[in-house]
């Protein structure tokens, strides 16, 4: 496998506020990387750096081993980004999708390709191609923007919230189109989304971003502040139903801590445990199937917090887990890490 992107010691600032802080990140050719993280964590910023629309304040980004400049030929014709708010040019849908082809002076079989691109996002060519940019619903606009990217058959496709405000059917279509791009054209994909279910159904690897830092091991569970001090050096997080979590030392000035999925165990009932453990009750809110990993991802709400855990189908059957069910989460205090 070859690396399409290599990021080294990236620091990015907006008015002295550090919004990205990535020491090392490699994105392989043909991979589908999911970017997950709360609002303002830096997903869109990272995507903007990857298309070289902005330059990082510090550090280097190598594209195929070379540091590229904005507007360099290598980027322009190969990398394309679907921005978070889709923006359409003030022209027809057809012209919007044709724009990128026109730029590339690619006049080959344009109508058919536009038709294909539109059908990939579930829009009918006859009905939509002649529409003006403002004669579309929110989701339709989003899908037209997506089609305008797909038609370019790019080497690298960066998608920023491609299915926000897109309906379920179309989300499925977009997923298929994306997977097909990866297969047919060997496209490398980086996708930021809050729709975890959708994202997990499509991405090979997930990168979790929090406060501009990346945690490349998949979705960890985050415990966000405010915290109170406890027993001198420890901290506690109070939940609104009276339960609380104890956090380890070293959390001064920190805004969040992390606990890995593998370190959390599930029980039907509370057990007697020694001091070093957190034990608390949560409710399963939803469950979905991760096709790629043949496992089930469950979302568990602990009042204001929410944890995500993975189960095998057997485990689900055995524990009779289903949405709405209350379960007990247990994990070592020392397994929690400050972020």
């Amino acid at each position: 496998m070859t690396a399409v992107y290599q990021l080294k010691n990236i620091r990015h600032f907006y008015n002295d506020r550090k919004v990205l802080n990535i020491d090392d990140l490699t994105i392989e050719k043909g991979s589908i990387t999911g970017l997950v993280g709360p609002n303002g964590s830096g997903k869109s910023t990272l995507l903007k750096l990857l298309i070289f629309a902005e330059r990082p304040s510090l550090g280097e980004i190598y594209f195929r081993g070379k540091i590229e400049l904005p507007f360099s030929k290598a980027i322009r014709s190969k990398v394309t980004l679907l921005t978070q708010k889709p923006y359409l040019l003030k022209r027809t849908v057809y012209d919007n999708i044709a724009y990128g082809l026109n730029i590339r002076k690619d006049k080959n079989d344009v109508i058919r390709r536009i038709k294909t691109a539109l059908s990939k996002v579930g829009l009918d060519f006859e009905r939509f191609a002649p529409r003006k940019w403002h004669e579309l619903s929110g989701g339709e606009a989003q899908r037209v923007a997506m089609a305008a990217r797909l038609v370019l058959e790019p080497d690298v496709l960066l998608l920023d919230e491609p299915v926000a405000s897109v309906d379920m059917e179309s989300a499925k279509l977009i997923r298929n189109a994306t997977l097909k791009a990866c297969e047919e054209w060997g496209t490398t994909l980086v996708i930021a989304s809050h729709d975890l279910q959708w994202l997990f159904s499509i991405s090979d690897t997930q990168i979790f971003i929090f406060n501009g830092k990346i945690f490349p091991t998949g979705v960890e569970n985050i415990i966000t502040g405010p915290f109170e001090t406890h027993n001198g050096n420890q901290f506690i997080k109070k939940l609104s139903d009276g339960q609380f979590l104890v956090l380890p030392e070293g959390g001064k000035g920190k805004t969040a801590a992390l606990i890995k999925k593998k370190n959390i165990s599930i029980d039907q009932d509370k057990k007697q445990l020694n001091n070093g453990f957190n034990q608390c009750e949560g409710t399963i809110t939803s469950m979905f199937f991760e096709k790629k990993k043949e496992r089930i991802s469950a979302n568990i709400g602990l009042n204001d917090l929410s944890f995500t855990l993975n189960f095998s189908p057997d485990q689900i059957s055995r524990l009779d887990l289903q949405p709405g069910k209350k379960i007990i989460l247990t994990f070592k205090i020392d397994h929690m890490e400050w972020m």
């Binding site: 298309i51 507007f71 980004l81 921005t83 923006y87 040019l89 730029i103 960066l158």
Partner: protein, 228 residues
Amino acid sequence: MDDIVAGIVKAFELLFSGDESTWTAVLATVKVSTCSMLLSIGAGLPCGFLLGYYEFRGKQHLRTVLDTMLALPTVFIGLVVFAFISNQGPLGDFKLLFSLTGIAIGQTILAFPIVTAITATTIEAVDPLFKLTLVSLGAGKRNIIATCLWEVRYGILAGAVTAYGRVLTEVGISMMVGGNIKWHTRTVTTAIALETGKGEFANGIALGIILITLAFAVNLSLSLLRRQ
């Protein structure tokens, strides 16, 4: 008031009787204003784009200077151009004084800041997302310039129409550089000035109406183009 009525009547007379001196002046006006508009748009659009699109040190100062250039008096421009193209000026050998070319040069200087300033303001108002979208679709610098200018074409058109109004109606440059020479460099506006100076107010008003009709014709065609 009588002069206004008389002027309106006279305007029709001049236009439809095919009065030769009037038509010569109209032709001179059309030639010279077309030429100066083409030049000032050709130079003003790219300059305005650069000024509106990019952030750089001293940009604000440049804008202030440009805004000030909007207040260049035509007579002043006329004087300065005169100083350059008069026989004793550095460009005297080109024999531009008392020629339509000379007027066109002066009018280009007049229109350029208007086109540039309004283009820059319009481009500045463009959604940053628009720029990012173009980049994300693989646009190069030239594509961005072209698409940006096209996207804000109505704003630019407004600037151009304003500049056109300015060019079409200016007297100072035409008078100073052109010399208001009958059959040669007399434009409609210098003719108006002449008639007014002679006290022939009705003639002045008639010529004014002719000029406005000309402007109307141009704007009407633009608005038809626009509707498409």
